[in-house]
Symmetry: C2
Subunit: 340 residues, 2 copies
């Protein structure tokens, strides 16, 4: 083990779209774990759209990153030094770490990773926060019933791809919006979506929905916002449910963007629109992990990760989320299995 560590810092708060100037890579010493802590070497680092919000100096659900501080995020890593009875060196764990080669994590805040269930990187996607978000967001906010039509935006992403498959398990017709033919093919050919719309090559989303969702929309799981959402709102059925999970189209906006007002459309159909944060379901994470793990292990729930190689490319991986570079979960491979 080298004694050199690298950590990404927030160099400056971006205005509008972030770029490389927002990030700075610092060399530090590898930290030493305190009692109860683990020194973890990062295998995989998660980059997620919500992190754009942490780059703002504004109170929100996720604590803002301070300029000059190390960036945080979900990691899967190998314990290289343990000051806890709960884990030994060599164990694989997942938790909230840093954009870094090494970080110390409190043993109470990590969960074990079982490579017999799925590849370790899946613990940042289908078996991690995105999978749990899909599970509770769809089932608890979307409340899908057999025969319902479920529309998902960002359908080929880490959350959307799981939402659509759970909706299919629940007997729904599932329609996804995604940004390339490769993505829409994956949705329909591999994941079992009934229809998928390439929003970058489709001009008229309402007409596309007339064909893909001829009976209207009962559940809309929204990861994106913007014109896709405008179109879906015009197709909401009586008692429709909208889970507002993400609005990536708007994360770089500096003020509330302008669009068609949607509230008048809610009255005739009595639709329910609800903001969704996975932290609200924390007491039930065990249930989600168990179910998702069973479905992944049996092969019923398919998943995919887009891997960028090297900690030095973590900002690129993050920035690529906003242009839709990823299929499934975007992760950064920081070290290989035999590197610890």
């Amino acid at each position: 083990m080298t004694n050199t560590n690298r950590e990404w810092l927030l160099a400056e708060r971006p205005t509008g779209e972030p770029d490389q100037d927002s990030f700075d890579l610092r060399e530090t010493d590898v930290p030493t774990p305190e009692p109860g802590e683990l020194l973890v070497r990062t295998r995989y680092l998660s980059v997620d759209p919500y992190m754009r919000g942490r780059m703002r100096d504004a109170e929100s659900y996720a604590e803002p990153w301070d300029v000059g501080d190390a960036l945080k995020g979900g990691v899967v890593g190998e314990v290289v030094e343990s000051e806890s009875d709960a884990y030994d060196a060599g164990d694989l764990v997942t938790g909230e770490g840093k954009w870094a080669d090494y970080a110390t994590l409190d043993a109470d805040d990590v969960a074990p990773v079982d490579p017999s269930v799925a590849d370790p990187e899946a613990y940042l996607g289908v078996l991690g926060m995105p999978g749990r978000t899909a599970y509770f967001g769809l089932l608890e906010v979307g409340e899908p019933k057999p025969g319902d039509t479920v529309v998902v935006s960002g359908a080929a992403g880490a959350v959307g791809s799981v939402v659509g498959q759970i909706a299919k398990r629940n007997g729904c017709r599932v329609v996804g919006f995604a940004g390339s033919d490769e993505k829409t093919d994956w949705l329909t050919d591999e994941l079992g979506f009934d229809a998928a719309i390439n929003y970058k090559t489709t001009d008229d989303y309402r007409a596309a929905l007339d064909e893909a969702a001829p009976d209207g929309v009962d559940v809309y799981f929204d990861n994106v916002g913007g014109p896709i959402t405008d179109a879906v709102f015009t197709k909401l059925n009586l008692d429709a449910r909208v889970a507002v999970c993400g609005q990536i189209a708007h994360y770089n906006d500096e003020e509330a963007p302008i669009g068609p007002r949607k509230l008048p459309q809610l009255i005739p159909v009595r639709a329910k629109v609800q903001g969704l944060l996975i932290a609200d379901f924390a007491t039930r994470f065990g249930e989600a992990s168990e179910r998702l793990g069973q479905w992944v292990a049996s092969g019923d729930l398919k998943h995919r990760e887009t891997v960028v190689e090297g900690l030095e490319n973590a900002p690129d991986a993050f920035l690529g989320l906003f242009s839709g570079d990823n299929i499934g979960k975007q992760v950064v491979r920081v070290s290989a299995a035999d590197a610890a």
Copy 2:
């Protein structure tokens, strides 16, 4: 009893703001009740904002009015001829009638009016559809808890004025938006609202809310839409509930109006926004009528009606809703108590 009847027809579908040209007054014969029906002489006719939607040729929750057909609406009237065992001539009833001097109503579709509880016109307001809408909309969609701050737009209207008083009964801080000093004075001095904002003389609604709702907004009961709603959405607290009851600012729009997108604001606070139609609570109307009747009879629940005289002025009364002419429920007095 004269044999001449007058009925208002839909003369043409309005584009944008309706005017007198949308209405035509026709003379007809007084109808004859069939078995099971009542011939009812209208005392009071209700004009309501939702009727703007019935002037469109578009499927919605309320059946569209056809051009050339008599306009329908809530009435309180006196039975002048009964072909039913359930009511006798002289009884006062309320139900869905016509914008007319006389109409036949199915005895199964009317409810008795008890003038010992309140003046008959109150059965079109606090004891009728608007009162029930306030009751279920606030309690079931808004879910107010003691200590919550409840904001109501259209607060001096038939629904809003009841919402605010029920919220006060539930131990909430209540803030209303209304369109004149007479209205805001009524809210704070008579109805017990904690604060009221005159939206026609206030420039900065967000600053006004900072003062009137210093702890943020837990429940927003929206009758209006537009810039008031934009401001309230920026103040929503964690787990806030928004009941979208009306959007009168938009009923004359010919296409979806443009405004700030609100969905991104819902995620950090996990707010729930729900379209509300009173018909969904039809099986529980008895509960609402009983509670509202008790509160009105005891004087705890105050109400007010704005009365326009004469069936010939019914279109004016309707059109005045869009300029906010009414305080409390807008009704039209079609005949006096001794006129049948």
